[in-house]
């Protein structure tokens, strides 16, 4: 027994080893381990990234050649470091650091040494390149922008990082990928597919021909060019109007949901984020924590909608049978919530739906809001119904658009008030939540949601998911989610009286000074109380100026929302800017040149500086010194 023990152990070990080896070498072995084998060199053939055009076929983004200096650390021989550093415009420390980094990545595979040389630097370097063994130049194309606008829509591309590499095996180090905006969302379409050639290397690291006679090689597939729905001219014009103002403008074509322009102020020139200066410029923009130019206010800025939201409440009240167009409420230059009087600027008197809207009477809409609640046996059922109606306009959701960022905003619900005030009909009611009636309560929206809401009104009851992709490779896109209308919960017949009220906003209401000759517009002003947290203290700043509009009233071509931070009265900034945008889009030219001049020149920088001045400051000032008498009259009637 003991004699056999050692022999059996030897045999068992032998069998175990043979078992494991056959598992590794026979069962796990696959002959196509090319991708993993570090001795098979892959040579890539990059297709050109697709161009981006606007809705009218005008070029927005093209390509420019650029040159990367690559290094294979193992092949680097002695060289004149100083001279090379000079040509590459880097210092010796950086040279050493990059070489070390490349060596750690792999001594025998190429790494990017200095990315994206300019054409001039390339020309100088090219003739000397043969002196530097182990270095070579790889051509690649960089984005070229034929506009200085739409940075927030287009996005930018940059080198893939560790996370991208881990997430998508397509990419290899040094390649570019879309980071935000259209470049990110439509990365796969724009990028195309690189071609790959597998090359067998022998033990001397020499190429000895194609691996497996090239049967695994692939040809590059071109990236597609795309048209986006943005109107280049309108976008550029909007950005000029927004100079010196913070906020967002979104214009949508109601009949398709196509986004005509999407402006965020302040913004930046997209060319800043191209080439070697990209990362320095990006840091500068990204760390500007006061004006936040990389924060896309047109889709991510959530604030109270203010008076434009009254149109939605009017529609809900009509739908629920709480009011008819002729129902009246009396405004006593305000209204009472319990024993507290709340103010109203409409001038007082008896208000019906039409003048309630065009004079933006708070008392009327609080009355209508209470009537909605009276239609239901309990407050929570009323709230549920109200929430459902509001959400059917796309508020409180991401909308399902093809934009890379965005915020959902918020719509209050029974749950929210139950949490705040407690469960039960006695705890809260229409009176508790009356702010919702005038768009100042718990409803928060983004400019794009406002524009979409306006488009839904313009369409008399439905909207199309807002989107920016129009054509791929010259062919119109056919994405079901974008072509199918989304219906609101309001019947079509209720829209006409509300739209009439919105049209009268221009005829005789709060926006009567911003009419455009020959274009019938329906709109709604908003002057939104503006509270922010500064060093965690709730502080009131100058009101936000809001305006929504669509035109022409009978056959809407454009629905627009303008949200100007600290712009004070709705028509003062937002209203004027909206009317200029509408005129620009429909007429393609501006007849009211003095208004245009004024809007282009005026800035609100002094308002934005106030909270950071460290001094006490006044809000909602009439800065009369800056206006002529003509505009004095306008300001008095702006309300």
């Amino acid at each position: 027994m003991k004699k056999l023990l050692l022999s059996s152990i030897i045999v068992i070990i032998g069998i175990t080893f043979l078992g494991r080896l056959s598992y590794l070498q026979i069962f796990s072995f696959s002959p196509d381990q090319v991708l993993e084998d570090p001795a098979i060199k892959r040579v890539y053939d990059y297709p050109e990234r697709g161009y981006i055009y606007d809705r009218n076929g005008k070029l927005l983004v093209g390509n420019d050649p650029a040159y990367d200096v690559m290094v294979i650390p193992r092949e680097v021989r002695e060289l004149d470091t100083l001279e090379l550093c000079g040509l590459l415009k880097i210092d010796k420390e950086k040279f050493k650091k990059e070489l070390r980094k490349a060596r750690i990545y792999s001594p025998r595979l190429p790494s990017v040494f200095v990315p994206q040389l300019s054409k001039e630097d390339y020309a100088k370097l090219q003739e000397k390149m043969r002196h530097y063994k182990g270095f070579y130049i790889q051509k690649r194309s960089l984005r070229y922008y034929d506009t200085n606008s739409a940075a927030n829509v287009l996005g930018y591309i940059s080198e893939v990082n560790e996370r991208d590499l881990a997430k998508n095996p397509y990419y290899v180090q040094g390649e570019l990928t879309g980071r935000t905006g259209v470049e990110k969302v439509y990365e796969d379409i724009l990028r195309g597919r690189k071609g790959v050639q597998y090359i067998q290397k022998d033990r001397f690291n020499r190429d000895i021909g194609p691996y497996k006679s090239g049967t695994l090689d692939t040809l590059p597939e071109q990236g597609y060019e795309i048209n986006i729905t943005i109107d280049k001219e309108l976008q550029e014009y909007g950005e000029r109007l927004m100079v010196g103002k913070w906020g967002g403008i979104v214009a949508i074509e109601p009949s398709s949901g196509e986004i005509l322009s999407m402006i965020s102020g302040p913004t930046y020139d997209p060319s800043l984020l191209v080439g070697r200066k990209r990362s320095a410029n990006y840091s500068k923009l990204h760390y500007d924590s006061i004006s936040k130019p990389t924060f896309d206010r047109s889709i991510s800025f959530e604030k109270s909608p203010g008076s434009p939201f009254k149109a939605i409440n009017a529609l809900i009240a009509l739908q629920e049978g709480a009011i008819t167009p002729s129902t009246t409420f009396t405004c006593h230059h305000g209204f009472f919530i319990g024993r507290h009087k709340k103010g109203c600027h409409c001038g007082g008197g008896t208000r019906n739906l039409n003048n309630g809207i065009y004079l933006s009477c708070n008392a009327y809409f609080v009355g209508a809001y209470k009537k909605i609640f009276e239609q239901f046996p309990s407050n929570s059922e009323a709230m549920d119904a109200w929430e459902k109606h509001v959400k059917s306009f796309g508020l409180g959701s991401y909308l399902g658009s093809d934009l890379y960022t965005g915020r959902p905003g918020s719509v209050p619900s029974t749950d929210l008030y139950n949490k705040w005030y407690g469960v039960g009909d006695k705890r809260w009611s229409a009176t508790t939540t009356y702010s919702n009636a005038i768009g100042q309560g718990e409803v928060n929206v983004t400019p794009i949601q406002l524009a979409n809401m306006t488009a839904a009104i313009a369409n008399r009851g439905h909207f199309f998911t807002p989107h920016v992709l129009k054509k791929v490779d010259g062919k119109k896109i056919d994405i079901p989610d974008f072509v199918e209308p989304k219906y609101t919960t309001i019947d079509k017949r209720h829209f006409e009286p509300v739209i009439q009220g919105m049209a009268d906003v221009y005829h005789k209401g709060t926006a009567r000074y911003v009419q455009i000759p020959d274009i019938e517009i329906a709109g709604k002003t908003g002057t939104v109380e503006n509270y922010v947290k500064i060093d965690s203290v709730r502080t009131q700043l100058t009101d936000n100026s809001v305006f929504v509009a669509f035109a022409p009233v009978d056959n809407p071509k454009i629905a627009i929302a303008v949200y100007i931070q600290n712009g004070y009265y709705g028509s003062r900034y937002a209203g004027h800017i909206a009317s200029l945008m509408i005129e620009k889009y429909i007429k393609r030219e501006i007849t009211r040149t003095d208004l245009e001049k004024r809007m282009l020149e005026r800035t609100l920088e002094h308002e934005y500086a106030k909270p950071y001045s460290g001094k006490e400051f006044k809000i909602n000032e009439y800065d009369w010194s800056k206006h002529s008498t003509k505009y004095k009259a306008e300001n008095q009637s702006e309300q």
Binding site: K2, L6, F17, L24, Q25, I26
Partner: protein, 427 residues
């Protein structure tokens, strides 16, 4: 006695295995360390050139080893043992540190690793002690002395640190078992390792459930008349569970992180693919690359000097501890199976030779040789193909290294000399 008669009685089959292993080993070292700028295989500046020199030196030493009187080894075994212990002690003062381990004397042209000498000396000393007419292995005192002979060098080597070599000395306990130590010692040790590993893999709860199942089966299947030794059985069960409970504590509090890592790697305790990917780039790098290299060889291998991963230096220490991965990549399953079979035949042949010895000393020394070769072969290849945790010891006759080759040769040929002399009793 003349040299001629030794050659006549030498076991040439063993010599054949030895030469084959040496040749295959050198070919693979050549492939692992080859570079395009090398001019000749005799260039002693290169690693494969040096190894060739060591091989020639080993051949020369064989002549001396065979020429010495057979009973010289038995007579001088104690002296040799004491010398090697002194050399091991001397390392604490004069040792040279290579790769973190203070295991070498710097002799200028050559780094001497005294632990290699100690392996030969300990095998000889143990055989001498056990074969002494005064020694009775059934006595506890003699068991203790026998284990002391093994333990002293092991204890001296652990702090170098070189746990791999220390393990080699423990393998010599096979010799004591062969000579009559009760086998249940071995059984207990094996059972303890089994409980340790299963606890790490499944946890104490499953061990308890497993024991319960075994007990139920046992009571269902036992013959009615069979008297159950209740108390010893209960003690065993309780001890097992207590031991299993202590495993967690020892693993988490006594082991160092690198030990935990190695065990975790070996037992595939990490299941999360993202973390696994990270492990493959850090602590599991060697094992992963080595497995990959072997796997990529397939059945036929990529051919001599065509191993792409070998060329790219993807497997670290490939000419020393990981030499077997070169065999796997360039010669495929055909190559690895050949090497495994060669080792198996060599070891089985040595078992046969040991058993035919007339003297206790020769037989026991033979078992010592087998134990030492077996443990090296088992741990090294086991580590390279990923069935054992990472413990750095060389593959006998294969791995690059002068002292190693010289002393493995000595170990083997001293035994062959004893074997050649087995019929000359009483010298």
């Amino acid at each position: 006695m003349t040299g001629k008669s030794v050659l006549k009685r030498l076991d040439w089959l063993t010599v054949l295995f030895y030469v084959l292993l040496l040749t295959i080993g050198w070919v693979n070292i050549y492939s692992s360390t080859f570079s395009e700028s090398d001019s000749s295989i005799f260039d002693f500046g290169t690693l494969h050139g040096k190894q060739l020199f060591f091989i020639l030196t080993s051949f020369a030493s064989i002549i001396i080893l065979l020429a010495l009187e057979a009973n010289f080894y038995e007579r001088f075994s104690s002296v040799l043992y004491i010398i090697s212990m002194v050399l091991l002690l001397g390392l604490f003062v004069f040792g040279k540190t290579i790769a973190g381990a203070t295991s070498w004397y710097d002799l200028g042209f050559f780094n001497l690793q005294p632990s290699e000498l100690a392996k030969v000396a300990t095998a000889l000393a143990l055989a001498k002690y056990l074969s002494d007419i005064q020694t009775d292995i059934k006595r506890n005192k003699d068991q203790l002395y026998a284990f002391l002979i093994i333990l002293i060098p092991a204890v001296l080597i652990i702090p170098q640190p070189d746990p791999g070599s220390a393990l080699v000395f423990f393998s010599l306990s096979f010799v004591i078992f062969r000579e009559g130590l009760p086998l249940y010692y071995l059984g207990i040790a094996f059972f303890a390792i089994l409980v340790f590993v299963t606890t790490l893999m499944f946890g104490t709860i499953w061990i308890t459930i497993g024991i319960a199942l075994i007990l139920i089966l046992f009571f269902l299947l036992k013959k009615k008349k069979f008297k159950v030794p209740i108390i010893p059985m209960a003690i065993t069960v309780i001890l097992t569970i207590l031991f299993s409970l202590s495993v967690d504590f020892v693993f988490n509090n006594v082991f160092e992180q690198r030990h935990r890592d190695r065990f975790g790697l070996w037992l595939r305790l990490e299941k999360d693919p993202a973390k696994l990917e990270k492990i493959r780039k850090t602590i599991g790098y060697n094992t992963y690359q080595s497995e990959k290299a072997i796997e990529s060889g397939g059945f036929f291998g990529k051919g001599f000097l065509e191993g792409t991963r070998t060329k790219g230096d993807f497997v670290p220490e490939q000419h020393t501890d990981y030499i077997f991965s070169t065999v796997g990549e360039e010669w495929g399953f055909l190559g690895t199976a050949t090497v495994v079979l060669l080792f198996t035949f060599l070891l089985l042949r040595l078992v046969y030779l040991s058993e035919r010895q007339k003297t206790g000393f020769a037989r026991m020394y033979g078992y010592g040789v087998i134990s030492i070769l077996l443990i090296h072969y088992f741990i090294n290849i086991g580590m390279v193909i990923g069935v054992l945790p990472t413990i750095g010891i060389p593959l006998p006759f294969f791995s690059y290294g002068g002292s190693g080759l010289l002393f493995f040769t000595a170990l083997l040929f001293i035994f062959l000399k004893l074997d050649a002399n087995r019929l000359k009793e009483g010298i």
